[in-house]
Amino acid sequence: MGGIGRRILVVDDHMDASETLAILLRAAGHDVMVARDGVSALQNAGTFDPDVVFLDIGLPGMNGFEVARRLREKDQKPIVVAISGYGSHLDRKQAQDVGIEHYFIKPVGLDTLRELLATLPLRR
């Protein structure tokens, strides 16, 4: 999926969604790590150093906006792509404010993610 292999962190508390996405991304040659909540996402981001983070917004505890905001504070600045069940104007605005570059509403199709990965710059 998406040509060149990338390091991708998938953050979603919905296990079936995160595992399915991880399997398909791995099958496409990407290096994938899965996190189920915001705190472990930030911990993993520190060690895994992802190029891209597919981030759910409605996470337990620390929500996706806060995770994105903290990711922006790190030295490595991965491209953050929200994949959320919510999609109001306020959600999108808030996503923009915390540096989320792309915002998709679930369910997002495989082709869309594939094309996105193909067009994303290799590394910031």
Binding site: H14, L24, G85, K106, P107
Partner: protein, 561 residues
Amino acid sequence: VASPAFQPLRSQQVDLLLDRAGSLLTHSLDLPEALDRLADLLVPQFADWCNIFLLDEQEDEWRLVLTGLADPAMESSREQARTLFSGWKNSGSLTQRLLSAGEPFLLSDGTDRSLRELFPDRHRVEFFRSLGTRSALYLPLELDGKTLGSLLLLVLDRDRARYQREDLHAARRLATFVAAVLRNAKLWAALQSELGERKRIERSLRANTAAMRTLAAGLGHDIGNLLQPLRLRLDSLSTMELPRMAVADLKAIGGVVGYLQRLTSGLRLLAGDPGGEISDQDLMPLATWWRDVETLMKDALPPGVSLQADVPPRLPPVRMPASALTHVVFNLVQSAGLGTQGRSHANVRFWVERLPRRRAVRIGVEDNGPGMDEEAVLHCFDPLYASPKRSAASVGLPMVRALVRRAGGEISVTSRLGEGTSFVFTVPLAERRLRPRRTSSLARVARVTVDDAPSRSAIIASLQSSGFYVDETEGLLHGEPQVWITDLLLPDNPDEFLEFVMQAANRLVVVVGGTSVPTPHPRIHVVAGPPNDTQLQKILMTFEESPRRGPRAARARSRSR
């Protein structure tokens, strides 16, 4: 020497009272306070005792609302009067005479015989005799031909002159003034009551709406979460070689997923704040909006009621938040469905048309239900009008009208008993930014408003690989793009494209899915279908060769070399 009641100062006194009427009327419109002030004006100036009765038409009885007395020692009589006149029916010779003739009644002495003429029952005669009544005036309180109540003035004090026939003229003026005060106070009280009721209903509607929005947001979120892995798996499986049966199964599952996906789109719009401000995200073609909400609308109808939609594919966005539009149409469709339920061939029709001479669209929701009577049509937007068919979950017709008006539109209703009801509202089209700043020649910004998601993604990818910053906002001419790729062809309004390209010299419009534009222009490029990467690069390259004169000029130069 007895002091006159009205005699020497009759007119002057009433004039003085009327002078004070202004302050009385404007100082407070509160009914109890107005009554207290009336008592202060009437007693002891014109009487030693006064009563005001209001006519309760519903109960057909007089209600004693005021007892004014000059002598504080008579306080116990006030309570006695309240008991005596409790539930005083609108019957008896005098009250009927007052109502029919509208004439004041003068009791020039306090004999039992006279008192019996005023009050036919023994208890009341005894009561007024016990007060020491020497004379009485009983006046209807009328205004604009309507009897509001009556006023009773008594002379008790031996130092005060009895009422006489000469007093009647001044007494009538006095009664008119009292009636005006009472009517204003009653109107004010009714208004306050209505305002309070409206506020209560508004709060209730808001609470209902908020509950529905929360539910819709939660459902949309949860269904989206469930669909996400399904969508990914289906997409992945669709690229594999599978047995024919499995392909058929996948197609069926894909159909269900697609249906649920459209339902979640509608739920998300229903979850949005209908009173929120319009944003660029709202600026989607109406057909795109309808695609997102159609499933939701169908699901809002009761079993047996069908939904027929007529939404032209090329209508531009309207100046109304998508969420507000969803709430308005959802409410109208749902109400129509509830009204039509149970009838044979029950049908709700939703239609949209562009108003040719205005930058607006007209949207209608019609049903073939039982229709509404004149009373219901007249009051259907009134929050105080309770319709038994109104759904508790909907925002209600009053809020529908408020949302339409907020967007600068208007709504009307026509209905025929036995034939059906039609709600029609107008909404202005989204405004265009007419004079944006001149685009920098170095900026490479593209706007893509293509409805089909895969085509849109492919075009965006192609533009990005050419170094364009792509703005995916589905607005029309906001921002400063150099290239606008759109499937929004407006055959009757080519001005949209021309205006865009004329605003800056180096602009290009690529119309996807068109065969021609009514007014050809060198910087409007028409392609039959979504351009692939090669085609798009070619268009962009040709255009950029001659940014000031456009691709046709570039081709012409190329031929002339």
